[in-house]
Amino acid sequence: MTVTDRRTPVRGGVGTSAPRPDGVAKVAGRFAFSSDLFADGMVWGHVLRSPYPSARIRRIDVGPALAIAGVHAVVTASDVPGVNAYGLEHTDQPVFAEDVVRFTGEAVAAIAADHPETARRAAAAVVVEYEPLEPLVDAEAAITAAPIHPDGNVFAHLLISHGDPAATGDVVVEGTYEVGMQDQAFMGPESGLAIPADDGGVDLHMSTQWLHVDRDQVASALALPPGLVRMTLAGVGGAFGAREDVSLQVHICLLALHTGRPVKMVFSREESFLGHVHRHPCRMAYRHHATRDGRLVKVEARMVFDGGAYASTSGPVLTNACCFAAGPYAVPNAVVEGWAVRTNNPPCGAMRGFGAVQACFAHESQMDKLAAALGMDPVELRLRNAMQTGDRLITGQLISGTAPVAELIRTCSAAPLPPQDPAPDPMARPGGSGRSADPDRVRRGVGFAVSIKNLMYSAGFDDFSTARVRLADGAATVTCAAAEVGQGFVTLAQQIVREVLQVEDVVISAADTSSIASAGSTSASRQTWMSGGAVEGAARAVLRRREAGETGEIEETYEHHHKPTTPLGADGQGDAHVSYVFAAHRAVVDVDLDLGLVRVVEIATSQDVGRVMNPVQVTGQIEGGIAQGVGLAVMEEIVMDGGLVRNASFTDYLIPTALDMPEVTVAALIEQPEPGAPFGAKGVGEPPTISSSAAVAAAVRDATGLDLPRIPIRPQDIALAGS
């Protein structure tokens, strides 16, 4: 791509497995995560949370907490100087509850004290008189129930009507599917450090996904001009969507301004589970119509997503689920209705896959059902309907970019199946270390799934990123506010600058809100494209000046935009998306039929990547995403009981261990450069999660012969299916 006057290309450019600049420090334990922050004279913050999913607050008395030695401040709703609300789409979530609490874990007060333990004791000493109310926990009921918030119970209601809504097919299959509430389960709990400044502002060091949007929400709540809230990215220990919403940002800034001291807060694991959004649990009723020879005629779907107490990104999540309700297939007719509603369950929002995960489980389950009804091979059925460039989504939008769906299906299904080990290590059987399996009662199953998802923000959102590149003394410095959350943007930024400027020494400066404008969110698989594009643009501008003969220091700032999108119309039609990414997964599982325990043996995958920017990082995203997909398929669920979270800890919220993680076989990385994408590269972070869950579920069905319309599949769903 780059025209250069050099003879030997620089090391660590685009396409190489350049090492991460923060890799060694992370592996050696020297990397400072946000929970490692420290400032002289700092005090510790702690949030008091509601123990009820729904209650009226009768009275709050902070006196007993303030009386405890070592307590510096206790703040409640009445201390919020600005708007007592935040939210990514709608500002409907109070910084502190005022008259009512709407979910278990809602913030009621915050304390600053000389020690975290003092702060915790002070929180226990705050007197809050609650009048518990009957919680609204059923999403379907919420549609018509009395509103539990002034903004009503419906976050979004969407209708898509595509083609002929009255069309019918010779063969019709129906199913109702459910997805449980998954958590992002990142390792590094929410944490940050707020330092009051002499100018009346505050410096906030925080692990987050989008600095500038956090800043604006903090400034609004504190009634400060945005320029007086200066945010710097602190080391992020994983995100997966859970750091998109404000968690403790406002609380610690408010405490810092109240106490005049730096305030640090680190969530406990339990608070982390209560204090961030989760993946939407949902119920999806489907009907597929097809011709006898296996061509899709129409897809009908009705989806109800439980958004919990506050809006967060429920609207866009639902839009995604509806847009991709039919999957990566060409479907001439569709009728889709979606609801995202408010309940007294924990708020739900962004998580890797963002609405496409739920839809994928349903549409892929339906494709298998349809294949069975047609007596057709499920892979063949998918191939017959595979979307390609020039087809239209059910929103009527033309797929103008690359869509190598058929290649993905062919390469993934052609991967050799793992051999049946005649004498497997007992630890590698279902049940693992519990050695509960009886080899005679273990059945193998194979399942297949394919997915589609959008890249970047959609529906008219003005999405952009900004980057600055400075070239001086043969070294380049990149300034960009893109949040490095572990995905490796810092590596890619170096690779891009090396590639364009042919300098090896590239330094990534700290991401903050003072030095540069927004980079947008590290989500929607967008940073490689958006901030990668901004870095490339800035580097090319520098290159042009150098090639024009300029010497000495050269600095350029570039703002990268993608092509514009529009919101969906009333019939759910419109050009809402920028680009799409596809993946195929084949799962092989062993199931203990009597105990219902599952061991995922292997996942083979083919992924549409546009261009491999960094092979090791692509593999990392694929393996990590599959771990999360396997988790959702067989174990990861926040267990709710009447609005109470029953397993807010890693003791009982189970994520896969090394014994649960399958072999991952990358059958193919399809490199078809995406028009408009920097270097032709598509984001790679989300697809591995989206169809891997559906593939595992299909494999378990294959092994057991059961319907299994819900993930995660629990042992009792299999073992007690007959009774």
């Binding site: 279902p430 049940g431 050695r435 105990l595 009981d641 003791t651 189970l654 649960d660 009792q716 007690l720």
Partner: protein, 289 residues
């Protein structure tokens, strides 16, 4: 919040330190106690650390019995001569937590925590283990089935230390099966231990996570004990009916509950399946190498 730690270098030092006040508490591996502290369920007062007290460490044979020091770690139970002598305990130990937990966690801690999900408890129950206790008034013994009184409740009195757990050295197969919804590092949904005593002509079963305390299943034990050919140490069960019936009888001895980890119905089923598999494994022909 004021806390202190006394490192006891002998049993006597530990007993002395416990006398220092009502808020004094023993800590061995700390893998249960620190979870309590972190969850705010217990505010550290005086901690008496016993992992350097030699009287509590290791194990030894005493005639027909094996004396397991309360400070025995899972890593020590998992391998070597002890694993050969009490294979079900070794297998239970292998299922506990992660290597870090198995290096720190102890038998005494598991017994005193007395969680229904304590993994060693079904094995010790099947073995009719006896708990040895030292206290201000001297030493005493308490059979495990009396020592564990309820969910996380024991017969341990103020100032007392569990010094050891005695189990018989038996001739015969031993099995331990644990069910959880993850393949490692998981709190059990149920577990079943089966111990065969070829000299006493008994088959003994202990079940965990399926009642407030670990349970035995006398009807099941009698049923299968009567059907074993003790001369050949074989159970004639070509169709698997005996094992299945044994499993059903074991399940009937339990009283499981619904909770966030599983359901009572699944637990009952899983106990039946695991008990049947355990007894079949215990009497199957050894696989030719």
């Amino acid at each position: 919040m004021s806390g202190s730690v006394t490192v006891a270098r002998s049993l006597d030092q530990a007993l002395d330190a416990l006398r220092s006040g009502p808020d004094a508490r023993l800590v061995a591996g700390g893998t249960d106690l620190m979870v309590e502290v972190n969850a705010g369920r217990w505010q550290p007062g005086t901690l008496v650390s016993v992992d350097r007290a030699p009287e509590l460490r290791g194990w030894h044979r005493d005639g027909d019995e094996i004396v397991l020091g309360s400070g025995l770690t899972y890593a020590e139970m998992e391998r070597g001569e002890l694993a050969r002598l009490v294979p079900a305990l070794a297998q239970a130990a292998r299922t506990v937590g992660s290597p870090q937990i198995r290096n720190a966690g102890t038998l005494g801690g598991n017994v005193v925590t007395a969680s229904p999900a304590g993994d060693t408890l079904p094995v010790l129950t099947a073995l009719d283990a006896v708990v040895q206790i030292a206290g201000p008034e001297g030493t005493r013994i308490s059979p495990l089935r009396e020592f564990v009184r309820g969910v996380k409740r024991t017969d341990l009195r103020a100032g007392e230390v569990v010094t050891a757990v005695r189990v018989p050295a038996l001739r015969g197969a031993q099995e331990f099966l644990k069910v959880g919804t993850r393949n490692a590092m998981v709190i059990s949904v149920v577990m079943v231990a089966v111990v065969v005593d070829l000299d006493g002509h008994t088959v003994r079963v202990g079940v965990g996570s399926a009642a407030p305390v670990p349970v035995r299943a006398p009807l099941a034990e009698e049923y299968v004990g009567a059907l074993v050919d003790w001369e050949r140490a074989r159970m004639d069960d070509p169709t698997g009916e005996v094992a299945a019936q044994f499993g059903e009888l074991v399940a009937q001895a339990t009283s499981p509950i619904d909770d966030h980890r599983s359901t009572a119905a699944y637990r009952r089923r899983a106990v039946a399946v695991c008990a049947a598999r355990a007894v079949r494994r215990a009497f199957q022909e050894p696989e030719s190498p």
